[in-house]
């Protein structure tokens, strides 16, 4: 176990020193700030828009990190022959893969936490500085009479809000969402679900990069993500074709292929809808992390890593 952890922490170090990560992270922060900007353009439902936008961004950026940082990790070790000195140590190949997987997952988890922290801070700050809250607070300060706050008062209020927002975000992250106000309900839990989803995606990134080039691995990992997200739709699609034709035996020509491909893809690819709580967030319902989603993520990732190990065990390292 200590050997797996040694590899995991080294992988984390490697990923953290990868510039691509920072480009993605910078982009993520811009997008999360953008959520605020976009919502202020909305005529109604601004709260819904800002949350949807933020949660979806965190999700997409996490996938991008898994893909662009992840696929290079195993491949680089093979390409630059670092693997020679690792596999020749008293360590099994599966330990190497699991270590890489955990290292990459750790990288993504830390990044998701960081993005979530930032986003929650944005949400709080947005709430504190909304016109109604501000008017209310400053009005009370002025003994219930309406007046325009002085520049100094505004500034102090903004700075104070910023600190409050940051503190609330810290509390949110530390308690993993149990310290949630109305504003942030669900965002933290949605991020936790995203982490589970990333466990599956990361396992695929490791699997693909254990036998193919980074470009191809990135492509295939993205395909798995897309098919995984559309999993249920694909299944219903296959069902629809079949029912329209009046049974599987009546399918004709291209339909046959479409039917079987959709059915195959929906069964083989992970069902990522399990981790998707956008609907709940949009409708201000509470986001639930079910035991099923946790077990599903770990079982699926484990199975994919097992396949990766089988592939990896048979390899001659060039």
């Amino acid at each position: 176990m200590s050997k797996i952890l040694a590899i995991a922490f080294n992988t984390f170090k490697e990923a953290v020193r990868n510039r691509v990560l920072y480009v993605l992270l910078f982009f993520a922060l811009l997008v999360l700030l953008g959520a605020w900007v976009v919502s202020s353009l909305a005529i109604f439902g601004a709260d819904k828009i800002v949350r949807d936008f933020g949660v979806a961004s965190i999700n997409i950026i996490s996938v991008l990190i898994a893909v662009f940082v992840g696929v290079g990790l195993v491949y680089n070790d093979l390409d630059k022959k670092t693997i020679y000195t690792i596999v020749s140590k008293p360590i099994s190949r599966w330990q190497f893969l699991v270590g890489k997987f955990l290292g990459l997952l750790l990288t993504i988890v830390v990044n998701i936490l960081f993005m979530t922290f930032f986003f929650i801070a944005v949400l709080y700050f947005r709430d504190y500085t909304s016109e109604s809250t501000m008017t209310e607070t400053l009005m009370t300060a002025a003994d219930g009479s309406y007046r325009n706050p002085s520049a100094m008062e505004s500034l102090l209020y903004y700075v104070g809000s910023l600190f409050k927002a940051l503190l609330n975000s810290v509390a949110n992250i530390i308690t993993l969402g149990f310290h949630s106000s109305e504003v942030t309900a669900g965002v933290m839990r949605a991020s936790l679900l995203t982490m589970l989803e990333m466990a599956v995606i990361t396992a695929f990134a490791i699997l693909f990069s254990s036998f193919s080039s980074p470009t191809l691995s990135a492509f295939m990992t993205v395909i798995v993500f897309l098919v995984g997200r559309a999993n249920e739709d694909l299944y219903f699609f296959a069902d629809l074709i079949q029912r329209k034709a009046g049974g599987v035996e009546n399918l004709q020509g291209g339909q046959i292929m479409t039917y079987w491909f959709s059915l195959f893809a929906s069964h083989v690819a992970p069902n990522l809808a399990v981790f998707d709580q956008r609907q709940a967030i949009s409708q201000f319902q509470s986001v639930e992390i079910t035991a099923y989603s946790v077990v599903y993520a770990f079982a699926y990732a484990g199975a994919v890593l097992a396949v990766a190990t089988i592939v990896f065990n048979r390899r001659n390292f060039k």
Partner: protein, 329 residues
């Protein structure tokens, strides 16, 4: 003495698939081309010796080492290290290995790098804290422990690579071309280090095509050529003790003597006023040397030259190549 490494009938065939276009059509042929990298190799490395695996490029040295280290899998045959099958983690923890032209995580500093590899060996942190500075000292880069590896020169990387191979205080050290990329000083230091390892009771196996170095330190060698072993045994047995050349160095010989030397010598190297004549028989060398001593010039040196490993190598492999050329015709 017992065998530390025991190789029996080891064969490795690389199979390549063909995916490409031929006559404008896409063709895929699985198992299209075969290349025999190693053929029926038998080898024993004894406890406590320095064993040299020699041969020109493409001879199968690295393939042998890769199979021993579990990086490649043999097509047939067996190999055992310390009496156990390859890939045994218990055995691996007693081996130190340095691959050819190693690349390490260049974002780690020398010390961080060694700590990481130490953890992979399962060495505890306390021991590592003591051993890492010792090892850095031993390989001569004590000053660079805090520098990231990307700031290392090639020689320093090779040294830190050697250090990682010694982290676990191994019983067996396997080095693939440990001297490639090093300057003469570095090569000497590696030689000294290998000898020191032997003194510590470790077994060392290394591959090399730098024959002079191998000749100086190896107890036994095996010579590979195109995947086949063409010779092996103790150094002393391989190289005949027979002297096969005599070198006479002289200064300012008389014209007469120079004429004579030109006639009888195998070749003559001419400097400004000094000459080096190489003879194949002792008699002709003696004759010239005697006349020099009689006053027809100055005798600078008289050197009987034994066959070197390089001569042996060129002779054996040269023969093989000539045979192959004949067979091809």
């Amino acid at each position: 003495m017992s065998s530390v490494i025991e190789i029996r009938g080891l064969t490795k065939v690389y199979v390549q698939d063909f995916i490409g276009t031929e006559h404008g059509r896409i063709k895929i042929r699985l198992r299209d081309r075969k290349r025999v990298a190693l053929e029926d190799l038998n080898l024993d490395v004894q406890q406590g010796e320095i064993f040299g695996l020699l041969g020109p490029n493409g001879a199968g040295k690295t393939t042998t080492i890769k199979i021993l280290m579990g990086l490649h899998f043999q097509t047939s045959g067996t190999a055992r290290i310390m009496g156990k099958a390859l890939g045994d983690n218990d055995v691996k923890s007693r081996i130190g290995f340095l691959p050819e032209n190693p690349f390490f995580y260049d974002y780690l500093t020398g010390s961080e790098f060694l700590r990481f590899y130490g953890h992979l060996y399962g060495v505890d942190s306390g021991t590592l804290k003591r051993r890492i500075p010792e090892l850095l000292e031993k390989v001569g880069i004590a000053h660079a422990g805090g520098v990231p590896l990307r700031g290392y020169s090639k020689g320093m990387l090779q040294r830190v690579g050697l250090a990682q191979a010694l982290l676990n205080d191994p019983k067996l050290v396997i080095l693939d071309e440990p001297q490639s990329g090093l300057d003469p000083f570095g090569r000497k230091e590696v030689r000294d280090l290998i000898l020191q390892l032997k003194e510590e009771g470790k077994t060392v196996m290394f591959s090399s095509h730098i024959l002079g170095d191998a000749e100086m330190i190896c107890d036994r060698v095996a010579i590979l050529h195109k995947g086949r072993k063409i010779a092996d045994g103790p150094m002393a047995d391989l190289l005949s003790t027979r002297v096969n050349e005599y070198e006479v160095a002289m200064a300012a010989p008389t014209d007469d003597l120079l004429q004579e030397a030109r006639k009888s010598a195998k070749r003559i190297v001419e400097g400004k006023s000094e000459y080096l004549a190489v003879f194949t028989t002792e008699d002709s060398a003696n004759a010239i040397a005697r006349r020099l001593l009689e006053g027809q010039g100055t005798l600078l040196s008289f050197t009987p030259r034994r066959e070197s490993l390089e001569d042996y190598f060129i002779r054996e492999i040269g023969d093989k190549r000539a045979e192959e050329a004949r067979a091809a015709q």
